[in-house]
């Protein structure tokens, strides 16, 4: 999967008003609860680059004490860059580049029946367990909309993996029966 553009996500968070670096990190982790949490260093490095490129600017008076004391605001150019990014259509899966895909294909090719079976059983179980965890998290009475939206994304992808896994095994079984009746 393509790397998420941290700069654009930060520009998006600044669209709601000026914020300090640590507030941006917190907002990022809250709005994208199942994404990898941002490191502070990454936030400041990204803000530095955005500032150099004129996409963000210090809000009001800059204070002593380095980047962590500075609040940033979106510039007109920054807003334009954000709008361009949002208007750009993401290429829908130009390549299938998933380790799961590669592993299942290889497992089916390998002649060691027991090992392949063990792998597939364990993988299916791990997917199903994770699906159950995410479902419990999103149906918990205290779940926020952000939690539900993030869990939904993960659930839809795990569900797709599982369906694909089953269809593939069924398909290969049919094919195998025809070749070795």
């Amino acid at each position: 999967m393509a790397r998420v553009s941290t700069s654009h996500v930060l520009l998006g968070l600044l669209a709601a008003g000026s914020r300090h670096g640590y507030e941006l990190k917190r907002a990022h982790d809250e709005r994208l609860p199942r994404a990898r949490p941002l490191a502070f260093g990454q936030v400041y490095a990204t803000l530095g680059r955005l500032r150099r490129d004129g996409l963000v600017a210090p809000a009001g008076q800059e204070r002593e004490g380095g980047p962590d004391r500075t609040a940033y605001t979106l510039t007109g150019e920054g807003r334009a860059a954000l709008d361009r990014w949002l208007a750009e259509v993401e290429p829908p899966m130009p390549y299938v580049s998933s380790t799961l895909f590669a592993k299942v294909v290889v497992a089916l090719l390998v002649a060691d029946v027991d090992r392949a079976r063990d792998y597939l059983v364990a993988q299916r179980r791990a997917h199903a367990d994770r699906l159950r965890e995410l479902t419990a998290a999103k149906t918990a009475p205290a779940a926020t909309v952000d939690d539900v939206v993030a869990a939904d994304f993960a659930i839809a992808h795990l569900d797709a993996d599982l369906r694909w896994l089953h269809t593939t095994l069924d398909r290969v079984a049919d094919w195998h029966r025809e070749v070795h009746p």
């Binding site: 089916l108 090719l109 390998v110 002649a111 029946v113 392949a116 079976r117 597939l120 059983v121 299916r124 179980r125 997917h127 199903a128 699906l131 159950r132 995410l134 479902t135 149906t139 009475p141 659930i155 795990l158 569900d159 599982l162 369906r163 089953h166 095994l169 069924d170 290969v172 079984a173 094919w175 195998h176 070795h180």
Partner: protein
């Protein structure tokens, strides 16, 4: 504690075997999903567990009592009192309003009219369709009908709810809302649920997943013939 148990349950439809010796235990208050490919025997198992069908061989035990040998009348009474059943298409009575449909199981169990209506309205409210109380199924959407059917299945506060693809006919979001509510209420009331589905996403609402393959529980956890090189099976 085991509440419901199948031991060596066998069932065939004429020459077609559907269950070939199913063993299963369901604990009190547990939510169990039964999954597996089309035709593996999920619905047949559900019908045997709920006392709708009688197995050809094997035992079905409810709180330690064998119910597979009970008369149709006794099993039907069990279904009206201790069990609730919910199917893919709610199967509401077309001539009755939503409230009348939901009140029906209570009326059959001898509850008075007024009390049954009050309970029906409360259950319709829990599923967010109380404003449809006086509407007939023909004028409702599929999702609204299924919410009413779910309310009807739970109105008697059954010990066990048997649900066969309860959200199979609904769009993703509607299905999810119905299921979330169903699972929440089941947990609140400590209702046991046997949930038949072929969708992993739906099975994930349960505490535990039982996979059927060719009429028997598949302990391998795959639910499939494993098609591997060497022709071994």
């Amino acid at each position: 504690m085991t509440q419901l148990q199948a031991r060596g349950v066998v069932k065939a439809y004429g020459p077609t075997p559907a269950l070939r010796g199913v063993n299963l235990e369901v604990g009190e208050g547990e939510i169990v999903s039964v999954t597996g490919p089309s035709g593996c025997g999920k619905s047949t198992l559900l019908h045997c567990l709920a006392g709708i069908l009688r197995p050809d061989a094997g035992q079905v035990t409810w709180r330690g009592q064998r119910i597979d040998g009970w008369s149709e009348a006794a099993r039907s009474k069990l279904r009206r009192t201790e069990f609730g059943v919910l199917f893919q298409f709610g199967q509401l009575v077309a001539e009755l309003t939503a409230a009348e449909n939901v009140a029906l199981p209570l009326l059959l169990a001898g509850t008075g009219r007024r009390e049954a209506r009050t309970a029906a309205l409360a259950w319709l409210d829990r599923f967010g369709v109380v404003e449809l109380a006086d509407v007939r199924p023909g004028e409702m959407s599929g999702g609204q009908q299924q919410r009413c059917a779910t309310a009807r299945a739970l109105v008697t506060e059954p010990q066990v709810l048997f649900a066969d693809e309860p959200t199979g006919a609904l769009d993703t979001l509607t299905g999810e809302q119905v299921l979330t509510q169903l699972v929440r209420l089941a947990r609140e009331q400590h209702t046991t649920v046997v949930l038949v589905t072929h969708e992993p996403r739906i099975a994930a609402y349960a505490d535990r997943e039982v996979i059927l393959r060719d009429g028997a529980v598949d302990h391998s956890g795959l639910g499939l013939d494993l098609p591997l090189a060497g022709g071994q099976r």
